[in-house]
Amino acid sequence: MDLSLSQQDLDFRANAREWLRENFPKQSRPNDGPAMREFDLAWQRRQWDAGWAGVSWPAEYQGRGLPLLQQLIWFEECARAGEPDIDSRFVGLNHAGPTLIANGTPEQKAFHLPKILAGELVWCQGFSEPGSGSDLASLRTSGVIDGDDLVVNGHKIWTSFADLASYQELLVRTDPSAAKHRGLTWVICDMSLPGITIRPIKTLDGLSHFCEVFYDDVRIPLANVVGQLDDGWRVAMSTLSFERGTAFTAGQVQLTAVVERLLEVTHERPGPAGQDRAIDDEEIAGQLATLRAEVTALRALTYTHVLRSAGQSQPGPEGSMVKLFYTELRQRVMRLALEVIGPGSGERGLTAASWDEDYLASYSDTIAGGTSEIQRNIIGERVLGLPR
């Protein structure tokens, strides 16, 4: 066992850092709407043009085909450079892409993967419904085969960036007579198809990052089915374990950067009880020290999880530990940030967003991608082997 990076890894890091110094976007990122999409895609395109997109994606799908470790290094360097959230690129790069690589037909891969890597468009995920959140497998949006098409009717909700997306990974029920987890199908939905209505939902931070999507006789070619008809649950689960495993690396690196920034801030600003420096406040100092230990350990947990699952086609249920710990830790960190900076300062944090916005956004973390309670169920049952 060793922690040291090989000469190749060190070279990769040095090259990445140098490229990012020159090429990292200087303008600040718009935090909503089409302007944000254009910013995100332009940034992705710049990475693609310079050969930095898809570091660990297989070379046959236009990735760099490099080891996962170098993917992590890339995320670390991006975060160190102050990378804006992966947000609108998340589903394409971390869900749809990996799912297509694992389950797509050669045609689907050839058409979609380069577009994702090259930052041509945004993807969204249409899984949750008003009646089916944690109990995803109970979903009712239907897909009925008619000729060469799947005709879709129903209603999805909480679909992040549906209003900005060109494609959607859509989960529909194709066999209503089968048991809950059977009879679902994972299909690529073109968001410009007739019959789709998108209604943005305003969130607690005043932005609208997710939407409701209504489907009224939407005809999707059967050629867009990924995996087999009625095999969508398996396909969807491979996507979700990606989300719970490796997909948060960039966010975690950012979290470490936030804690280090707070360490600086607490040495520069007065404390809540009139101390010269916030760090002289015992409670703040104690919390900050614990949080620093925890973000340090989170990095160790992530590296251990990612490198040990490198040989597997998809990350195991241990990814739920990373997801659960990361999201709850992020809330603790943002809570302390608000305490130190003061609520309502409007002051910019590490990214374009303000500390207030980052604080409010952290409430989503323990809900999106499966709530903390669902992660605890998974850890209890699938990692520890407790009965259902």
Partner: protein, 330 residues
């Protein structure tokens, strides 16, 4: 970077587990409380024969030439099995004697003939001595240097009450006249000590997680295993996360110390804090998961809880490490 456990390491863990299961099962650990030291003595000589005290010491010093991470794997098992005895002081003491140039003493310690206790300065000016009873030497360690002194230098010795009945503590006045000394900058004994304490605590966090999971699978109430109830299942899941976190960080701490990584101090402090919190929370919660049985003497849960408390100040308490966490560079 490679974070997979090697076959050699797996073999070390298996062999340690076998030895502990045979020589020091829980009945013998409990036997030691009633004054029956036969188990402890037998294990001690086995440990010496197996080279445990020199596991991470280079071969030219008479050790086995493994790494700190391998010692951490050993200490995790000692934590898991609640093994009593001056293992930590003895292993570090052998290192200090050998590196400090005192070959004869090093040899005696490695052979298990000269156990080493650990002295920690107290605010009152005297010292708290861990594992004082049979010690031939005492180890004193701070972030600058570690020294070895004869146990005979301890005066006014008093046995102290200990929450952990399995660890013997004394107070004593010491005259510090070291015959072997190692600067932290030359060999990071203090950092190694912290890491090994974190290892013991991680072993405790894992053992208490496993106790809880086993009980939750077998104990039935309302016609179902209690592990089906989310209040219990989620408690276990949190124990699992804490143990996994402590274990991953232990690995990073041990590797960064032996590789001399620039952020080693941060990694070690993080390991110590995360492992302490994991051990404390998990041993507390395992009592709750066990219900009435959890508060009995017969259930092992309390031993883990008490051992965790007993380790609080060894190699820097959580408070010292927190201070470090606010200053160390990452």
């Amino acid at each position: 970077m490679d974070l997979t456990i090697s076959d050699d390491q797996r073999a070390i863990v298996d062999s340690v587990r076998d030895v502990l299961r045979d020589s020091m099962p829980m009945e013998r650990v409990r036997g030691a409380l009633d004054g029956d030291n036969s188990g402890v003595e037998r294990l001690w000589s086995q440990a010496a024969d197996l080279g445990w005290f020199g596991l991470g010491l280079a071969q030219h010093y008479g050790g086995s030439g493994f790494d700190l991470i391998d010692e951490a794997l050993l200490f995790k098992e000692l934590g898991r099995h609640l093994t009593p005895g001056p293992f930590l002081g003895t292993l570090l003491g052998a290192r200090v004697a050998a590196i400090g140039g005192n070959d004869d003493v090093a040899e005696q310690i490695l052979l298990g003939r000269a156990p080493v206790g650990i002295a920690v300065p107290r605010r009152s000016g005297d010292y708290l001595i861990h594992d004082a009873q049979a010690a031939t030497y005492l180890l004193l360690s701070d972030v600058d240097r570690t020294v070895l002194i004869p146990a005979a230098a301890a005066r006014e010795r008093h046995r102290l009450a200990s929450l952990d009945e399995l660890s013997v503590r004394e107070s004593a006045a010491l005259t510090i006249d070291p015959f072997a000394e190692v600067a932290e900058s030359f060999d990071p004994i203090h950092a190694r000590g912290c890491t090994l304490v974190a290892a013991v605590l991680t072993g405790i966090a894992e053992a208490t997680r496993d106790m809880s999971v086993t009980h939750a699978k077998t104990r039935e109430q309302f016609g179902a295993p209690i592990g089906t109830f989310q209040a219990v299942k989620h408690r276990c899941a949190d124990m699992g996360v804490r143990a996994a976190l402590a274990d991953a960080q232990l690995l990073f701490a041990a590797l960064s110390v032996s590789e001399g990584q620039p952020d080693a101090a941060l990694e070690v402090a993080a390991a110590r804090v995360v492992a302490h919190r994991a051990a404390l929370s998990n041993s507390r919660e395992t009592i709750q998961v066990h219900g009435g049985m959890g508060v009995t003497w017969e259930c092992d849960a309390h031993f883990y809880l008490k051992r965790t408390h007993a380790l609080r100040d060894l190699y820097g308490g959580e408070r010292d490490h927190r201070r470090l966490l606010l200053t160390a560079s990452g």
